[in-house]
Symmetry: C2
Subunit: 407 residues, 2 copies
């Protein structure tokens, strides 16, 4: 198998971007990645586009074909890879295989989504809810936030944890996002509280009091409140991949994808032995560690899929950083902060960087590349050489883990 | 690069299948392919699902995750591959790369679509029309049938060809479909004519008179009539792929995928130098021939993408069987019949086997496997050892060509 290197990265601002369409965003991220890769004159063999629902959200069903044309990358092969909110991670995996097999020498991977223009109430959440089981779940009104609420309640009870510890994850991720110029939200929750106090909306002793107030932080899926849940964002991210043997021709600091894992679990959440254990992540990350000959102890930085803050706690356990039931406490104790034992989501994660569905899995890898190159600015994890991701398609039923390291 | 073998194939009946949902059809084809592969006790590493619009047609956005669960193939990795009506071909390519890279040992590739339940007039065609360019084409009312009508008129004029020769392609494909038990239409156009005469609907001297009658064969996209255009069908097809080194363990007659090509062309049809030349097919098939070290003369049987019968004529030229402008005449002269110089679409093609969008690219490969194994029954091409496909995503802007041969 050929070794696969990342030689270029691109990332648009995430957030509500009313002036740009999906193809604009994908083009912007792609051109940035191509420029970053110094491959300007080279031919791309193939382009893989990760997006969850461009057909439903943007009325575009041939998104990959349209993108290669817009980028003047014709006649590069172009395919659209879908795996719910893990569409980006799947596109990275498929692009990896194109290089690893020797079928392609130079591959562009792009992930993106454009959703904030949709004004029909419930349209986006209903679309995302089509990831659940049609008869066993969806017909009973189940949605992904409701699963997250249920998981939170079960986790807190089973492991004697506190909801404030889950809030700590949101507080950390907003703090990190405030250091990330392309994040959707660039201010801390403390900033939001102070601003609310100044505006006379109330008075709180501390940020937990603010976060437990129904007026400022309404319950969305009991016990989860607004600040425990990621926003709806627009944005795109891109990677240029090539055979590692040739990477040094283009790039001083190529990063290699040394581990790739993906696994599925029962689509019906009820059928799992334990809702608080992500079996698919355990398998996917084990595959990635094994392939890269690494263990969780070797990891310097991680980007996890905190669409709901409880997920970061659970994922930090099942990816091997903490014992079962100790992830939320570890976050509470600061172990996952930048500078902590294992920094998680220095980008701000889905909570603060934002979550343009198909973009996320690619954006996670872009952040790790920045971290491993030492280009992460104020949110730099000192000396980071190895990183791992968790990207979530559905509610834990299809998980991808990508392990990257310096060449 | 590891050599990739096809060790199992499955194929549902194509046509209106009101009693079965999309997941039922995909499961049926998959289980048939798995049984055919004799790998019953083996673990599948990954599953690639080709489907164009399961979200819009079936309200299922996590189709690949749902399928691995339904098939009890957990924890196999699962991804959904989209490339318009070439989604099946793209899924085959991505599955091929999974084995070729050494990332997977055993892969299931499934293509399928379920559309005939949709009763909203124009819903399916409007969805397919989202493959065209939003501003330059779609907003002016362009649809894929209108492009096909324009291509037909240009071709007939430029190459001094006759519409009856295009009808000959439909006549041949219906004749082949009549020999294919899983085809959507299993009767010849002559049968339809005789039946219409018996019912007192008219009287025609020959099949061309019948096909040029507005009552029995109305114009859809001038000059193309109903019988020149493929139907809307339900159905699924599946392949089991493995490393060729291990193929003989499971299967007496493994077929190898020795060539894979894919290329894109301008999304805006107007921007092409010549509408009658499919540049993307020329490139895609060249890649496949080169990889397999074959030429068009080596091919014994082909499955082309005759969504409109003009396309079979043009594709038979650009894939290298006939000189430019001679494809329709070759069909008229019987060179593409079973037993002719180069049999095309012995399955009946999209016209008669039917065209459940995402299923087609996989079904084309299944038909070639049957032909190369000598299992094609009454439509067997004698001694076939090498075959090639053309699968079309959009109107010629994203084309995949798969070359298969006996190991």
């Amino acid at each position: 198998m050929k070794t696969v290197a990342i030689i270029g990265v691109g990332h648009t601002k995430f957030g509500p971007l009313p002036d740009k369409g999906l193809l604009d965003l994908m083009s912007e991220a792609s051109l940035e990645a191509i420029e970053d890769s110094n491959t300007n004159d080279k031919d791309f063999n193939s382009v893989y586009v990760g997006a969850m629902s461009p057909s439903a959200f943007n009325n575009l069903s041939g998104i990959a074909s349209a993108l290669v044309d817009k980028l003047s990358l014709l006649p590069a092969a172009a395919d659209h890879i879908k795996n719910g909110p893990a569409s980006g991670g799947s596109a990275v995996k498929v692009g990896f295989q194109a290089i690893a097999s020797g079928m392609s020498d130079l591959v562009l991977v792009v992930g993106g989504e454009k959703m904030t223009h949709i004004t029909t109430p419930g349209y986006v959440t209903s679309n995302v809810a089509t990831l659940t089981h049609p008869e066993a779940e969806r017909s009973h009104g189940i949605s992904l936030p409701s699963f997250a609420g249920m998981l939170t309640r079960t986790y807190l009870k089973k492991y004697d944890a506190e909801l404030d510890w889950i809030s700590d994850i949101a507080i950390k991720n907003h703090k990190n996002g405030a250091l990330n110029p392309i994040a959707h939200f660039q201010r801390t929750i403390e900033d939001s509280m102070k601003s609310a106090i100044q505006k006379g909306k109330g008075n709180w002793d501390n940020v937990y009091a603010f976060l437990n107030d129904d007026k400022t932080n309404p319950i969305i899926a009991d016990p989860l409140r607004l600040f425990h849940i990621c926003p709806i964002s627009d944005g795109a991210a891109a990677l240029v991949l090539c055979n590692a043997d040739k990477a040094k021709e283009f790039c001083d600091t190529p990063i290699i994808i040394s581990g790739v894992g993906q696994a599925t679990d029962t689509q019906i959440v009820y059928e799992r032995e334990d809702i608080t254990t992500l079996k698919a992540l355990r398998l996917a990350s084990s595959q990635a560690y094994k392939m890269a000959k690494k263990t969780p102890d070797d990891i310097d930085v991680a980007e996890l899929h905190d669409a709901f803050e409880i997920l970061e706690a659970v994922q930090s356990e099942d990816i091997g950083f903490f014992k079962k039931g100790e992830g939320a406490k570890a976050a509470h104790e600061g172990l996952t902060e930048i500078g902590g034992k294992i920094p998680i989501n220095p980008s701000g994660g889905l909570k603060a960087r934002g979550h343009p569905l198909g973009a996320t899995g690619v954006a996670q890898v872009v952040e790790l590349v920045w971290q491993l190159r030492g280009e992460a600015g104020k949110r730099q994890v000192t000396g980071a050489e190895t990183g791992i991701t968790c990207n979530f398609g559905g509610f834990g039923n299809n998980i991808i883990s990508i392990l990257v390291e310096r060449l």
